[in-house]
Symmetry: C5
Subunit: 321 residues, 5 copies
C-alpha cells in the first residue's frame, strides 16, 4: 500500500506524485523522490523496481521479509533492513522496514508493524537546510526514529529485571522467578538480534569507508551508532545480570533447602526424644519402681517436657530453629 | 556414478557429452562443461582429474570425504566442500558435496546423500542471462540450494527446543528434559560445524578479494553469506538457550526438592506429634488419673486430632503443605 | 551555571572574561579560553555554542546527558564525555562531565555531581611550561583528575569483596553473602561501563592517529590510558572473583547441607533405635520372661543406652556427628 | 643418537654420509642433506650446529626440550617444534620432534618418543618429483605424518566420551562419571596445547607471507593446516560436550536426589501412620470399648493395613513411589 | 640505594663510576653505562633523571611503583616495568623492577624484592661478544632472568592443584578443597596480571616494529616471548582446571548427598518397620490370641528381625546401603 510519494528540490517539498511520474523527477538535478510503502504487494514492488532500477536480490529480500538487519551496497545505491519493535503486554512483536536509497531517491517499505513515520517526514520538511543533503539525510532521520523507539523497550525490560531481583531475595517465589528470568532471557535475545547487526550497519554508515550517499552526514550516523552502542551495552548488562540472577536463585534455593533441612532435623529430634522417653515408660517390666510413685506420671511428663525444652533451646542457639 | 555431463554456450544448453568428449568443449570460447557425479569411484575421479587438470590434493579430499566445509584456491580453479544435511526421525545424516570449478568447467561430486540437485540445473537452464555468467553462477546456484535446505532443520530443532521448554516448567519430566536437551546440544553442535565454516567460505566468495571466478556475481554470494549469518545466529541462540535451559532445569529441580523436603518435614511433624501423645498415654504409670476418666479416651483422641489439625493448619499457612 | 571563564596566553592567566568577550580573545594568537560550567541551562549552552561554533549534535548530547563515555571529533574540535563517580554509603552516584575542546578553547560542563575541579585549574596555572601546550594539556589535566578519582572506589569495592570472602568460609551468613555478592556485581557492572569506554577514548587520544589537538602531549594521555588499563584489570579481577565466589558459596551450601543431612540421619538413627527397643518391651505378650526379672528394667535401660552409645560412637567415627 | 644422514640430488637419494662429510654436500647445487637424530646428546647437537650453522637459541631449545609447538625463522632457515602423541592404556605420553630446515638441509631431532619416521623417508624417496622440491617438502612430509597420528587419539577420546555419555543417563555410576569426565578434560587440555599452536604454525607455513623455504608447496601445508583445523574443531567440541556433561551429571544427581527424597517421604509417611494408629490403641485408658470387642484386634489390623494401603496408592499415583 | 654503576666499552667492563661521572662516559662512542638501584629514594631518581635525561612521567611511575608490567617508548629511550615474584609458604610477594634504557645507558630500579641480579651482570660480562650489542642485550638478560624465575612458581601452583585434585576424589575434605581452590584461583589471578601484560611487552620488543634499541637482538626477545607464552598457557590451563574442579566438587557433593539420603532413608525404613510391628503387639486389645501363646514373644522378635533383615537385604541390593 502506497503511503505517500513526494518529490523534493533543494530541501523543499516540490509536489506529491503518482508512481508513474517518478521517472520525470529523477532526471531533474537537485531533486529527489521519497516514497513510503506499507506491506507492499509484489506488484507495487515490481513497479518501483523498474522506476528506480532496484537490484533484483534486494527486492526479493524486501518481498520475503524475515531478514536480519543489514546494509547492502549495490553500486551507488544501498539497501537497508531494520527491525521495528513493539513490546506490549509482555509480548514482543517484530516488524521490518526495508529502505532502498540512491543518489536521487529513497524508498521505505514497512512490514507487519503499526509504527508509522509521518513524524519523520514532517520534521525533515521543517529543516530544509538538512533535508537538502538529500536521501542520505532522510535515511538518517528514519534510522534515528527507529533506534529511538528501542529505548522504551530496554527500559521496560530493565524494570522487569528489577522487579524479579526484588523478589529473588524475599524468597517467596522461587519457581516463578526462574520462569520470569527465562522469559526475560528470551526477550533480550530477540532484542540482541535486532540491535547488534544494526549497530554494525550504523558503524559502516558512519565510517570513512561507508557509502558515498552518506558521506556528508557521517557525524549524524555516528550519533545513531552511539545510541546503538549504548543500547547494546544495556542489553549485555541485562543478559549478564540474568545469568547471575539464575545462579543466585539456585544458591538461595540451596540455602533455603539447608534451612528446611535443619528445621526438619530439629523438630524430628524433639519429637523423637519425647517418643523414646514415653516408649521407655510404656515398657511392661514388672519392677519399674517409678511407675508406682504417686508423682511418677507428672514427673515423667516434666522430664519429657524438659528434654524437649532443652533440645529446643539448643537448636535455637545453633540457629536450626 | 555419473549423473550428467552437459556443455553450455552463452547460457544455453549445447549438448550432453560423454566424459571423453569433454576436452573438445573446454577449448571452445564462451563454452563451459557442467558435470555431476554421485558417490564417485576412484576411477571416475581420476578420469575427470586428467580431463580438467584438477589438483591432486583436492581430488584426494574428494575421494576420502569427511572434510570440513572449506574453499581452496588452486590458481584460477577453486575447490569447495559443503555438507548436505538430512534430519529425519531425530537422526541427523551428513552427506557431502565437493565442487571443483574453473573458468570453463564445474564438477560436483555428491557423497552419501539422497539429496539431488536436478532442480538447480533446470532453474539455471531457465535463466540463460544468468547462466551465461559461467561456472561461477552455477556454483552460486548449487550453494544457494544447499544452504536453503538447512533452514527446515533449524526450524525443526527450534520446535524441539520449544517443546522441551514447555515441559521444563510443567515439572513432570525432569530427567527426560535433560536427556533431550543434551541430545539437542549434540545435534546443534553438528549443525554449527556444518554452517560456521561454510559461512566463512561464502564470506570469502563475496568479498572483493575473493576468487576471480566469482567476481561478477559477488552480490549473489553476499546473499548466500547473509543466509548463513542468519542460520548461524539462530544456531547460537539455540545453543545459548539450551545452556540456560539446563541451568533452569537444575534450579527447578532444587526448588522442587525444597518443596518435597517441606512436605516431608510437615507430615513427619504431624505424625510424630500423634505418636508422641499416644506414647505418653501408653505409659504404665499407676497414677495417671485421666486414664480412669470415662471420657479420657475420646478426649485423648480429640487432643491428638486437634494437635495434628493445629500443625496441619500452621504448615498450610507457611506454605509447607 | 558559569563557574569561571578565563583567557590564557603562553601558559599564563591573562584575565577573567564575561562570556560575551570570548570572541575577542579567540582571535589572539597564542591565546586560549577555558570555560567551566555546571549543570548548564539550555540558554548557556546555546550562547557558548555560537561563541565557540560548537557542533549541534555535541551540544545536544551535553544538554540531554546520559551519554556513555566517548570521544567525538568534529573537524579540529573534539567532544569528550566522562563519568564522575561518587561512591558513598554503598550507593553509587554517577555524574557526567562533557568537554568541548578546540585549538583555542576548552569548555567543560559538569552535570549532577558535587565534584569540582578547582584544583586542576590551580595546578595548571602553577605549571605554565605545560599549560602553554594549550587546550590539549587542560584536557589531559581534567581527564587525569577524573580518572584518579576512580581509584578510591575500586579500593572500596575490593575491600567489600574481601569482607564477603572472609564470611564465605565462616559459613554463617549464606544468604547475606549472596545478596552482597549480587549487589557488588551490580556496582562493578556500572563501574565497567564507566571505565571501559573511557579506556578506549584514552587509547585514541594517545595513539599516533589521535586528534591533532593532543599530538604534542600523547605521552601524557598514554599515562592516563595506562591508569585506566590498570583500573579495568582490577574490575575484571573483581568480576571474575565474584563469579567464583558465587559458585563457591553454592558449593559450601551443598557441603553444609550434606553435613546437616548426616547429623539428621545420625540422630534419627539413635532415637529410632531407642524407640524400637522400648517398643519391643512394651509389647503385651504374656510370656516375656525378662519382664518378670527384678533387674529386667535396669538391664533394658542399659541395653537401650548401650545401643544408642554404640551408634553414637560409630556415627562419630565416620564423621556424621 | 644418529638415525641416518643422507644426501639427495634432484629428488634422488645420492648417498649415506658421515656427519663430517656434510659440509661437502651442502655446497653442491641442487643437493640437500637430510639428517635424523633421536634423543640427541649435547655433543651431537653441537657438531651439527657447526655443520649447518644453526642458531644458538634454536639449538638450546632443542637441547632442553619441553617447548610448545612453534615456528621460528632465523633468516632463511626455520626451526619447528612439534609434539608426538602416544595414547596408550589411558595414559598420554608426549614426545617432541624438533626440525631445523634451511635451503639445503633438513635436520630432525626426536625426543622421548618411540614413534619413528622411516615410512616418511621411504615415501619421499618413492616420489622424486616431489622430493626435488627440497627440504620444504620433507618438512611437509614429516609434519603430515605427525598430524596424521593425532587422529587416532582424537577418535579414542571421542569413544571415551561416548562411553561416559551412555552411563550418564543410566544413572548408576555418578561418581565414576565425574572422575572420568575430569580425567578426559585433563587429557583434552593437553591435546589442545599440542594442536592449537601447531595449527598456527601450519597457518603461517601456508600463507603468502610464510617462509621462502615453503613457498612452492604452500598448497600442501594448507592441507596440513586444514587437518589441524579439523582436529581442533573436534577438540573444541569434546571440551564443550564435557562441560555440558558435567552440568548434566549434576542435574541428574539433583533429579535423582528428589526421587530418593520422595520415596523416603512416602515410606516414612506409611510407617508413621501405622505407628501412630498402633500407639493410639496402645494407650492405657480404662474406657476404650473397642479394646473389649472380640473383633477389635483384627479390625484394628485391617484399619492399619487399609490406612497404609491408602497412602501407598496415593503416593504411587503422584509418582513418589 | 645504589647497587652498582659501571661503564662498558665494546662489551668489556671499563670501570666502576660515581653517579656524577656518568655524563663523561655517555659521550664516548661505543660506550654505555649500566646502573643498578634498589628501593631508590626520590633524590637518587632525580639525580639519575638529570644525568640520563629521563622522561618525567617514567620517573614518576618508577617512584610511585604499583604499576602494571608495561613498555613505554619516549623517543629513542624505553621504560619497562616488570614484576618480581616470590612465592614462599603459600604467600605471594610482588616486587617490581623498573628499567630505563637508552642508546648508551641502562638503569634498573628494583623495589620491594629480595631478588638480586648480580648473576645477570656476571653472565653478561662473561659474554663480551653479546654484551657489545649494548643496553638492548642487557635489557634482554634482565628480562630473561625475571621470566625464568616465574617458572618455579608455576610449578608450585601446579603441584598445589594436583594435591587438591587427589583429595577431591577421595571425598574427605569437601570444604577445605573449596577453600584451597579459591585461594589458588586468587594466586593464579595475580600471576595472570604479572604475566599477560609482560607477554605483550615481549611481543612488542621482538616484533619488527619494536624499539630500535632492540632491533639487532629480536631473536632473543622472541625467545623470552616464547617463554611467556608457555607460562601464560600454563596459567590458563590452571585457571580452567580450577573452574572444572570447583564444578566437580559441587557434583561430588551432590552425589554424596544422594548417598547419605539413601542411607538415611534405608535405616529410617528399617527402624520404622520394627517400631510399627512392636507398636501393633503393644496394643491393648483383649482378644489378641498371639499374645497368649507361649512362643508368641520369640516369634514376634523373629518376625521383627526377619522384617528388618528383609528390608536390609533389599536396600543393600538396590545400593542404598
Amino acid at each position: 500500500m502506497l503511503i505517500n510519494c513526494v518529490a523534493y528540490e533543494n530541501g523543499a517539498r516540490l509536489t506529491e506524485l503518482a508512481v508513474e511520474e517518478i521517472g520525470d523527477y529523477l532526471e531533474r538535478p537537485g531533486c529527489f523522490v521519497w516514497v513510503a510503502l506499507r506491506d507492499a504487494t509484489h506488484e507495487e514492488l515490481e513497479k518501483l523496481k523498474s522506476e528506480f532500477d532496484l537490484h533484483e536480490l534486494a527486492v526479493e529480500d524486501a518481498h520475503h521479509g524475515h531478514q536480519r538487519p543489514k546494509l547492502e551496497e549495490y553500486g551507488e545505491s544501498i539497501f537497508i533492513v531494520m527491525h521495528l519493535l513493539e513490546y506490549r503486554d509482555g509480548e514482543m512483536n517484530l516488524g521490518e522496514i526495508h529502505i532502498f536509497a540512491g543518489p536521487n531517491y529513497i524508498l521505505s517499505v514497512r512490514n507487519q508493524s503499526r509504527q508509522h513515520f509521518h513524524g519523520v517526514r514532517e520534521r525533515c520538511e521543517r529543516e530544509p537546510h538538512l533535508l537538502q543533503q538529500g536521501p542520505g539525510f532522510v535515511l538518517y532521520a528514519l534510522m534515528d526514529a527507529v533506534v529511538d523507539r528501542y529505548f522504551p523497550t530496554i527500559d521496560l525490560l530493565e524494570s522487569e529485571l528489577e522487579e524479579i531481583e526484588e523478589q529473588i531475595f524475599t524468597r517467596e517465589a522461587g519457581l516463578s522467578n526462574i520462569e520470569r528470568l527465562y522469559a526475560l532471557k528470551r526477550k533480550i535475545t530477540i532484542l540482541k538480534h535486532v540491535v547488534a547487526p544494526l549497530m554494525e550497519v550504523a558503524g559502516k554508515l558512519s565510517s570513512n569507508r561507508g557509502p558515498v550517499l552518506c558521506a556528508n552526514i557521517r557525524d549524524y550516523f555516528r550519533n545513531v551508532h552511539d545510541h546503538l552502542i549504548r543500547i547494546n551495552a544495556s542489553i549485555d548488562t541485562i543478559r549478564d545480570t540474568i545469568s547471575t540472577a539464575i545462579q543466585v536463585n539456585l544458591s538461595i534455593g540451596a540455602i533455603e533447602s539447608n534451612e528446611v533441612s535443619k528445621r526438619l532435623a530439629a523438630w524430628a529430634g524433639i519429637f523423637a526424644a519425647a517418643t523414646a522417653l514415653a516408649g521407655i515408660w510404656g515398657m511392661n517390666f514388672k519392677h519399674m519402681p517409678e511407675l508406682q510413685w504417686e508423682f511418677g506420671y507428672p514427673l515423667a511428663l516434666l522430664t519429657i517436657f524438659l528434654a524437649c525444652l532443652f533440645l529446643y533451646i539448643r537448636f535455637k542457639r545453633i540457629g536450626w530453629l
